[in-house]
Symmetry: C2
Subunit: 282 residues, 2 copies
């Protein structure tokens, strides 16, 4: 497995693979890999002859009071995991390679679907995500790119951007990977103390409860919302950022579930903000 | 020469040419071709084995009180001129092909360099330009794209966008093409009455005067500005939108010309808004 750090190098690498007739699969990450990332690699390997993973903690998508500086990083461990998973090349640029001057003048903005959910609590976040993904797509020029469903709104933003800007990249979503007890895998789980880790289960448990209520016929968003709130408020370290039940495409809140919907949560457990979601085929 | 109207068709056409080992040159236009456009085709033919011209009047870059509906269109004439100039394929999509729903959610914004000049008089214009050019680049995937220097700020915006988003396209600027008497060629010149056409010469004449003053040593922007204003105000049908002397890259106004600068004008002659500019190697 190769590790490349410049745009010229990765372009040259991809070009060679393409000349060999290989499809290019791309897994963009911020590193500190867990099984969620590795499931993206697995999907990419099934579809493509060559798999590129980027590892880049993108400053543009962190707010001024967020955890850019402290976001967990461990390149050595990541390299081992990526190689074992069958990644062919890691693209791990410095910030100065991606943003020769920072912040750059050009931004990709996706409106409407970024208004609610994480977009409301993290202003500018999705513009940072869309912009860096546009850059990475233009650098790597993959056939297909793989994103985890845990970041549901992010996937919608990237699908929208790709369609709206006619980017020649297919977007595949891979289901949420969970720990044995149900906690959605996330690099930020490493922030949790042992006690917080136990309380953090309230997100997936609340979603499980939601699914049960839905399957027994409940379609009213307020009722489902109340049940989630009640479950989460049992944990003293947990404070709700948002609970939303939205149309699965437009991300507009719904009052009654009639079509495909997503139940999306953001909960702070101690100081750690965690997200999770559940798609209901209404 | 082929005329294609769907994204799938033009992608397929370009792919074939690429498999034949040809470099792709791209000339994006809004049609109603004049010699300015044809000089872009000429440059594209010199550098590339295949030349794509797009003809698309982009609604996204027109303000609500601007001339989208009345913008001159003449596809038959354009086809004849393009074919004669050696264009290999015209991509002429309908609005519904480019914007399946309008306005789309995703926009490409370039900040700072879009604040002044035409950006100030035409809010949203450059976001519309950057967005459609990003789309066209992703659709056509050219090696090199050609733009006329008459739209100086537009060229800067596109160069900035291309660099910031790491688009794999080279941008070439082609000098302003002028009528024999000096008027910068523009599709909008067709709006001018005979009398306005005569008065419209004040733009190029004022710039000629600026060059003379500059060459005789004048470096003070206010002084040059005054001379331009005086020249233009001689024409009763002419009203100044802006006269700016700016750094050639950042487009920030300068007080004294010390490095490369651009003198940029927008003047309404009757109801027709015309632009022109002059680059001074300070």
């Amino acid at each position: 497995m190769k590790i490349l750090t410049t745009i010229d190098e990765i372009r040259k690498w991809v070009k060679e693979k393409r000349l060999q007739g290989k499809q290019i699969g791309f897994v963009p990450t911020m590193g500190y890999l867990h099984e969620g990332h590795l499931s993206l690699v697995e999907a990419a390997k099934q579809d493509n002859g060559a798999v590129v993973m980027s590892i880049f903690v993108n400053p543009l998508q962190f707010g001024p009071n967020e955890d850019f500086a402290t976001y967990p990083r461990d390149m050595e461990r990541d390299v081992g995991l990526a190689e074992k998973a069958g990644v062919d090349v890691i693209f791990a640029p410095e910030v100065s390679e991606m943003y020769p001057y920072y912040p750059q003048l050009t931004a990709v903005e996706v409106r409407e679907i970024t208004r609610g959910l994480c977009g409301a609590s993290r202003p500018g976040h999705f513009t940072g995500v869309a912009t860096v993904v546009a850059k990475l797509f233009n650098i790597v020029q993959p056939d297909t790119a793989y994103f985890g469903q845990k970041d549901y709104q992010q996937v919608q933003v990237i699908k929208r951007m790709t369609a709206d800007l006619n980017m020649p990249v297919e977007i595949r979503t891979v289901p949420i990977k969970r720990e044995k007890d149900g906690l959605a895998m996330s690099s930020r789980n490493t922030y949790l103390s042992e006690d917080e880790r136990r309380q953090a289960l309230c997100l997936s448990r609340a979603l499980l409860l939601t699914r049960e209520l839905f399957e027994s016929g409940e379609r009213n968003a307020d009722k489902l919302n109340e049940a989630i709130k009640e479950r989460i408020s049992r944990e003293p370290a947990a404070s709700i950022d948002y609970i939303e039940i939205c149309d699965a495409d437009s991300l507009e809140p719904v009052a009654e579930i009639k079509g495909p919907a997503v139940v999306a949560l953001a909960v702070k457990v101690g100081k750690t903000r965690l997200i999770d979601n559940l798609v209901l085929e209404g």
